[in-house]
Amino acid sequence: MNNLVHTIIFSNSFIISKALFDIVPEFFSRTEYIDKCDDFDILINKIEKQIYTIIFIDEFYFNKYKFFIDNIKGKTLIVPIFYNSDSACNMFKFAINILENKYQIHKSFAKLVEYVKTKIQEPTLDKELSNREKIILQMIAQGLTSKQIGDKLGISYQTVSSHRKNISAKLEIKTVSGLTVYAILNNLISIDEANLT
């Protein structure tokens, strides 16, 4: 789950951002820090590419960019960072109160993790390749393009691409060369048949 979540710390305060930059990676590994934003299109574009994004935003930016926050769509959770428990953060499912002690902060983050887990469907992959995937992997290792594989198997280019993505996700190998080595090591293809330079 950890790797599927992109977290953004959006704070004007050096102390708050520094502290969050130490704490957040304990729970979510992909953390980015933004101390100013002149162009929200870039930020929105970034968010749209992610599976799930959590934006930790301090009071300064929260008030300044309320319009932007209200308009964020998609799989994004806004977590305001406040130091006053009576403030507007009550409107949100989660908020970080910087006056809380270490135990309370960790408890809040643990709850946050549990919540996010329910929001993203982590692919529960069967790591074994299916027979179809093995055939496609053999063809990839022979140097065929997705289009050529699709033509040979009588399936669309998109279906081949989808199989390729699944193969890479299961094996955690992204490059064609890497997949080719895997195919040879697992006797799916001989070194002579493979498209290795």
């Binding site: 951002s17 520094k18 930059f21 953390t31 980015e32 820090y33 101390d35 870039i42 955690e172 190998i173 992204k174 490059t175 060369s177 890497g178 080595v181 895997y182 040879i184 090591l185 697992n186 070194i191 290795l196 330079t197």
Partner: protein, 227 residues
């Protein structure tokens, strides 16, 4: 972490070994005793602000916010990155290659696996060298020129294409590590495999810093941060 020019350079190196490569690429030799950053910079004729910004980036990584970006010449960053390229081409890659050769000599009954490993590595090495040569001969001169003339260097998507190639090379390195860790049958000579994997980790880490320098220092100076 704040770095001040009057702080002792050795104090940082003790805590952040990634700075060793950094110093090497600046041409700074070890044995600088209790000299401050400023004193070492003076000794090697380096811009203090540039050195401090790069140290901040290496130590703070994604948190990095340059203090002096406007104050130093783009040519220094380019020179530093070119020196890094030399280190990849003439230190890291040959060392990994010689370890794979050594492995092949010792693991005679694993001829196919060693051959496969070498083929994969050589493909990566060739692509990598081609990429850094392109960077040295095309991209860097373009950026230096753009910085001097304010010319738009993105009009032909040169930078976008080059960045795509960058990602592909990163993936190849990660795949090599993954193949060794998960998919090759265990080799007898664990020490060699461990050394190869350690070098791959080190190079991956160094490349990450290299990329950050490009993305957070070089490209912003050339006004191409969004590519």
């Amino acid at each position: 972490m704040m770095i001040l020019e009057d702080n002792k350079l050795a104090d940082y190196i003790k805590d952040y070994p990634a700075l060793l490569n950094f110093l090497d690429r600046l041409g700074v030799k070890l044995g600088f005793r209790d000299n401050t950053i400023k004193q070492v910079c003076e000794q090697y004729n380096l811009e203090v602000k540039f050195v401090i910004d790069l140290m901040m980036l290496i130590i703070n990584r994604d948190e990095f916010n340059p203090n002096y970006l406007d104050n130093y010449a783009v040519i220094n960053t380019v020179k530093y990155l070119k020196n890094s390229h030399q280190s990849y081409e003439f230190d890291y890659l040959p060392e990994i290659e010689s370890l794979i050769n050594r492995l092949a000599e010792l693991e005679r009954n694993r001829e196919l696996d060693c051959k496969l490993l070498m083929m994969y590595f050589k493909e990566y090495k060739d692509d990598f060298i081609k990429h850094i040569n392109y960077e040295d001969s095309v991209i860097f001169p373009l950026i230096v020129n753009a910085n001097n003339t304010n010319e738009d260097i993105n009009k032909d998507n040169i930078v976008a294409e080059y960045m795509q190639n960058h990602d592909n090379l990163d993936e190849k390195l990660v795949d090599l590590k993954n193949l060794l860790i998960r998919y090759f049958r265990p080799f007898e000579n664990i020490a060699i495999i461990r050394s190869i994997i350690n070098l791959l980790f080190e190079m991956e880490e160094d490349l990450r810093i290299h990329e950050l320098i490009e993305n957070k220092i070089l490209f912003p100076k050339a006004q191409i941060i969004n590519y």
